[in-house]
Amino acid sequence: MKTDSLSERELATRCAAKDREAQGVLYTRYASMLYALCFRYVGDREEAQDLMHDSMIKAMDSIGTFRYNGEGSLNAWLRRLTVNVSIDRLREMSKLRLIPLDQTTEPDTLKADEDDDAVDTIPAQVMMDMVVGLPSVKRAVFNMYCIDGFSHKEIAEKMNITEKGSASILAKARAQLRDSVNDYLKRTMQ
């Protein structure tokens, strides 16, 4: 069977019917991306793998609730589900003190953009390391807002903080990333 060419709609329908082959396609098609997404949130490969598995199982169990809304909607649904699972886990881990929920405040300063085009020369993997290098709360807020398209309102609800708090954490995350970017550019220019 030509499973490689399954459209998102067909794939979702067959997965909802617990078609084992379609579930296999779902896994092969999205595992690496969702794994990277989880890693971006937790910064630990083992944990990311574990989370990806959990998300994938959850997706297979609840795909009946997915509503097809054009090509790309399954991708978006899976990503969103995975972000939610990741955030829940982060909150859980912070309760269990696996990671410190670092909310230390720093002066909220931003240097002017010197050379945004230079940022394009930074390899994706290095950018990933920069994001992962953020303390967990900043990392989560930056990821949700800037990369995964959550609003401050949604973030506030998920993270148990205020919208203002979310915005201010985001500013700090950006400032820290900006520093990482500048450091990196300085090092590589030499």
Binding site: Y27, E46, I57, M127
Partner: protein
């Protein structure tokens, strides 16, 4: 700022990472385990609902014939035990500014149910989650990581059977720094759980937690990963 965010989004949104070898197998094993556990839960639920219902009918029948009084069906005890899981097991130190009652949340509950051993989840009341000075493994987290790596040996049986996994252990650091109440929050099978518990119980004493100058019992958790190469 938009532009800056955009650069990160462009590169990282669809970013893929190479998964560890055998990941797919590990995934299907896990899914199969989950499905089995779900079926077990399901059948337990139908028993939990079914039996009392049947017992109630029986009870009415018996009472109507005015026979002896009968005892509560045993199933009630089990559901009471389950209810304990959702009650808070930890409170926050009174000296701490953060008022939060921590409880075992859904994902753990699920894992605990799977472990078939929720009876061991009785932690004394005065265990804190968050205190001013958190307890610390002597030498800090790096030392703890080194210690776990050094002391954990891969059980031979597990190696032969290619069993891998992550054991999540929670425990209490007592006022004298000793470890108590070890609980497997997330099991990876008896063999790996046992090794993880062994290493945990043989840990040297921690520097205990303090709040407002008072020694406190504090709950902690650590993950121990078992991976075959």
């Amino acid at each position: 700022m938009k532009q800056f965010d955009e650069k990160f989004r462009e590169r990282l949104e669809g970013y893929e990472m190479k998964l560890p070898p055998m990941d797919q197998q590990a995934f299907w094993d896990r899914k199969a385990n989950r499905d089995r556990a779900a079926r077990r839960r399901h059948s337990f639920l139908s028993v939990a609902v079914g039996l009392p219902a049947a017992a109630a009918i029986l009870l009415v029948l018996i009472m109507s014939i005015n026979l002896l009084s009968i005892q509560r069906p045993a199933v009630y005890d089990e559901s009471e035990q389950l209810a304990q899981l959702t009650t808070p097991i930890v409170t926050i130190a009174s000296g701490s500014e953060i008022m939060e009652i921590a409880r075992i949340d859904d994902f753990q509950e699920e894992d605990l149910m799977e472990s078939d051993d929720y009876g061991s989840l009785e932690v004394a009341e005065d265990v804190f989650m968050l205190v001013e000075t958190m307890p610390e493994f002597p030498g800090g987290t790096p030392a703890l990581t080194d210690y776990l790596k050094k002391e954990t040996t891969y059980p031979e049986q597990a190696r032969e059977d290619s069993i891998q996994g992550r054991v999540l252990l929670s425990f209490v650091v007592e006022k004298d720094g000793s470890i108590s109440n070890p609980v497997v929050v997330k099991s990876s099978g008896d063999i790996l759980d046992a090794e993880a518990l062994r290493v945990l119980s043989e840990m040297p004493k921690w520097n205990p937690g303090m709040d407002n100058g008072i020694l406190c019992r504090v709950q902690y958790a650590i993950p121990i990963n078992f991976r075959l190469n």
